[in-house]
């Protein structure tokens, strides 16, 4: 009772602390956003320097997107490449996180490994892809290596086959972002109240048990974060495939993602179709995120209990 009354009396501070976010959000994001949605009901683009519209067209932009049938294709492409990159990434991250926090392994050089894994993210995606182009060129070192090993008989055109392009995109994303995930998880692990481990220790738990029974459940909020942001980030995947395929999403647009598609409409400053597309994307992202939330939220109570215990 006492606790509750205290909290209540301070509640206005909740609003006060929200002010900076709200103000900045309203100015810099809400206005552009509302414009976006508003624009989706108009024909509004530029042909060269000539502005066409805005002319109100109702739901025509939405109808266009639904009828041309491209959206599902690009959604599937996006999800395929996301899964191809994310699955190895989360497995690797959890594995590394577990190893780093597993006391029984007593890994040496942890500082080094932990530092190194994030480093690929320091390289600009554009610089990164310059390297990829060089390495995976027909006459590049990867091909000559494979030729010498006798794996292939003639140079493999990595950029000309559906699955090799998708794999390269996934691989590059994975390399660039797994360190990021691992760090998030480790920071989460580091934040766990040490007394819990002591308690477990007193109870005679093994390292494995500690990982599954304490670390993982307590990590759940961070895991949810990782899942959701990965999903959202995955749906908004853009730079890597954009650069690797020079914006074409080739072969035959099989690596064209949703945002790359959206980006196509920015060429003509097509606020109308672009706006409608982003509304669709918003809905898709919302639904998928909700599913992830539902899947992961079940452990919530358990976590609260253990926290109280602490």
């Amino acid at each position: 009772m006492k606790k509750k009354s205290k909290v209540v009396s301070y509640n206005k501070w909740g609003y006060i602390f929200l002010i900076p976010f709200i103000v900045v959000y309203l100015v810099f994001q809400m206005i552009p956003l509302v414009t976006t949605v508003y624009n989706s009901f108009f024909e509004n683009y530029r042909s060269g320097l000539t502005q066409i519209g805005p002319n109100f067209v109702g739901l025509k932009n939405y109808a266009t997107i639904i009828t041309n049938g491209d959206l599902p294709t690009y959604l599937v492409n996006t999800l395929i490449m996301w899964v191809m990159g994310f699955v190895p990434q989360i497995i690797l991250s959890l594995l590394l996180g577990a190893w780093f926090t597993d006391p029984s392994l007593r890994l040496k050089g942890q500082g080094f490994f932990k530092t190194v894994i994030y480093m690929p993210n320091l390289i600009m995606a554009s610089a990164f892809s310059m390297l990829f182009f060089t390495l995976f060129a027909n006459t590049g070192p990867i091909n000559s290596l494979l030729l010498q090993l006798g794996v292939i008989k003639e140079s493999y055109q990595f950029m000309s086959h559906v699955w090799s392009v998708r794999s390269l995109v996934a691989f590059m994303n994975c390399i660039m972002w797994f360190g990021n995930t691992t760090i998030l998880l480790m920071a989460g692990m580091m934040g766990i109240d040490p007394s819990l481990f002591e308690a477990a220790q007193v109870d005679g738990a093994t390292a494995t048990q500690i990982f599954y029974k304490i670390t993982l459940p307590l990590l759940k909020p961070i895991l949810i974060f990782v899942m959701i942001t990965s999903l959202i980030g995955g749906l908004q995947m853009f730079d890597v495939p954009q650069i690797l395929t020079d914006g074409t999403g080739d072969p035959m647009r099989s690596s064209m993602t949703l945002i790359m598609y959206l980006n196509k409409h920015l060429y003509s400053k097509n606020y109308g179709l672009g706006g409608a597309l982003s509304v669709f994307m918003f809905v898709i992202t919302g639904i998928l995120s909700l599913i992830v939330f539902k899947f992961t939220a079940s452990g919530e109570k358990e976590k609260k209990r253990s926290k109280n215990k602490a």
Partner: protein, 298 residues
């Protein structure tokens, strides 16, 4: 309170070590090392290639990849330095924008998260959901609206549109909120109140320090993504001396053919990665060095 923290890790390892079967630990350790070494190779390899490439002349670069460094690094660097691009301005601008962005973003996102985490108010759930929804809005389309907006506000060619919007960063907020959920008990705040600490002071002197690992993590991410930003700065900044490194790199790459020199491009990429590495190494101590949460125990 903090004292027992330091004990925790050694204790854990001792205890766990005793319980595990020795041989299987040995095997797992070997696997771990093999994987770690492989992964480290995959992570560092790119830096090696960048380094190699920055030692090669334009002609050498255009004849494909080699694994052996060449001798042109000084020459490339001198050409770059004596060129017309204001690279030192660029590094300052990039640093300034990235630091301000990282500070604003982490500080205010923590504050926002704290508002939702620590207080009960009518709009709390609405706000939480709302911010999460904001996170799902693809950033690309609002880009053009954003540019028009800053044009109207007269903020063209200034750092304001590149930094201030970082105050409202939903995903940083989300991370902070999740982190607080797992590590910041309300009872601690209660205790501070009982000690007579004002709300704002509690936030600054008790909550912020506790959030250090999370802040360090997000500061790194924010810093790096701001550092590597190209698109918005390219559209917002027009004066050469205000430009950030990625724009200058792009400019170098679209140089006219008499001046085009991939050697310089690679040196410049290497040059622009260097400060991020330093910043990263400094901040990463907070994560890697095992800064644990003292005093969280309720």
């Amino acid at each position: 309170m903090a004292a027992d923290t330091t004990m925790a890790l050694p204790n854990r390892s001792l205890m766990a070590g005793q319980k595990e079967n020795g041989a299987s630990v040995q095997a797992r350790r070997i696997i771990a090392y093999v994987v770690l070494v492989l992964v480290s190779f995959l992570c560092l390899f790119w830096f090696y290639v960048l380094f190699i490439n920055s030692t090669r002349s334009h002609q050498e670069l255009s004849s494909g990849f080699t694994a052996i460094p060449s001798t042109h690094i000084i020459e490339n660097w001198t050409n770059l330095k004596n060129g017309t691009l204001p690279i030192f301005n660029g590094i300052f601008n990039s640093l300034f924008i990235a630091v301000v962005t990282a500070v604003l973003s982490t500080y205010f996102s923590t504050m926002t998260a704290y508002a939702i985490h620590a207080y009960d108010f009518k709009l709390k759930n609405f706000m939480f959901t709302f911010i999460l929804m904001v996170m799902m809005i693809p950033a690309q389309v609002t880009a053009l609206g954003f540019l028009q907006l800053i044009g109207k506000m007269g903020l063209d060619d200034s750092f304001v549109p590149l930094t201030i919007p970082a105050i409202a960063a939903p995903s940083v907020f989300f991370y902070m909120k999740q982190y607080m959920d797992s590590t910041l008990p309300l009872s601690l705040i209660e205790a501070a109140r009982i000690d007579g600490s004002g709300e704002f002071r509690t936030f600054n002197s008790i909550v912020l320090p506790l959030m250090k690992p999370a802040i360090a993590v997000q500061a790194i991410f924010t810093f790096v993504s701001s550092w590597n930003n190209y698109f918005t700065p390219a559209l917002v900044l027009h004066t050469d001396t205000k430009k950030t490194l990625p724009i200058l790199i792009a400019q170098l790459r679209s140089a006219d053919w008499l001046k085009f020199d991939m050697g310089q491009v690679y040196v410049m990429i290497a040059f622009s990665i260097f400060p991020v590495i330093v910043v990263y190494l400094v901040l990463s101590r907070y994560i890697v060095g095992g800064v644990t949460l003292g005093g969280v125990k309720g």
